[in-house]
């Protein structure tokens, strides 16, 4: 099983989602490999930091260029690959899309970010020739927690729908715990914020359900 996390916008929480989903999968008993295919190497730095803590270990590997063949080989024997691609249209992103089961596109509920879904949607369509079964979903991230801002989130979901990249039900909200945990190589599961744990777990279950549908 291969999950790719990518998009066409930097700073939307791709690495954060990749890291937290990987740990959530490990906690659920899956064999996981986090692949860092982002030239910025955020997830590799995070994983290095993590290896110096008491947190449950996470296998990780950095990769560049066309990663499709290696990814397929690594995903054999029931291992789940979580590939963190950067916020750009790169060879890494495209080659990951070619072999992925699910692609998640973290997107902030902002006009500038939502606009980039147009490009990503085009990319997903082109990729259909080689990978017709890829399930691509937007993940609304860094959403405002104020209840009065709920309309922003609903509007963003509607935009995602209009680009044929429907949003997951689960939303990742702006919470300090994400930054605090990331800086010390941790995930929200080793930190003290029940709401964050819950939203990552919900996201994971939705993704697992999607992959189940695709079997």
């Amino acid at each position: 099983m291969i999950i790719t996390i990518g998009g066409q916008k930097g700073g939307s929480g791709k690495s954060c989602l990749a890291q937290n989903l990987s740990v959530a999968l490990v906690n659920e008993g899956y064999r996981v490999l986090l692949i860092d295919a982002d030239p910025q190497q955020t997830s590799s730095d995070w994983a290095d930091e993590r290896s110096g803590t008491d947190a449950p270990a996470l296998n990780h590997q950095a990769m560049t260029g066309d990663i499709s063949k290696t990814a397929v080989a690594l995903a054999e024997s029931g291992r789940i690959l979580v590939i963190d691609c950067g916020g750009r249209d790169t060879r890494e992103l495209r080659s990951a899309m070619v072999v992925s089961d699910v692609m998640l596109i973290p997107t902030r509920p902002k006009r500038r970010d939502l606009k980039t879904l147009d490009y990503v949607s085009d990319l997903v369509e082109k990729n259909r020739i080689t990978n017709p079964t890829l399930i691509a979903r937007t993940v609304i991230s860094q959403a405002p927690t104020l209840p009065s801002q709920i309309k922003r989130i609903l509007d963003a979901k509607a935009v995602a729908d209009s680009f044929n990249l429907p949003a997951l039900e689960s939303v990742i909200f702006t919470r300090n715990v994400y930054d605090d945990a990331e800086e010390s190589g941790l995930s929200v599961f080793e930190a003290d914020d029940e709401k964050a744990k819950k939203e990552i777990s919900q996201t994971l279950f939705e993704v697992l359900a999607l992959m189940g549908d695709n079997k």
Binding site: D66, D89, V98
Partner: protein
Amino acid sequence: MSNLQSLKKKKESASKARSFISQADKGREGERGKRLNVEIPEELHYQVKMKAAERGLSVRALVIQFLQSGVK
């Protein structure tokens, strides 16, 4: 499907995948590109080339990346 046919199909699919991957960072098909010529110090040019090689990118891809983050 005969072995030969299935092999042919596999080959075709691999070639489509390669072509899809090689189009990375070139913008959308049909989107017009513009050429940018700039004279830069030799040392800087060397550094950019080194950085591109380090990251496994082409100089073009790296320059586009830098420019994009600059105009954000």
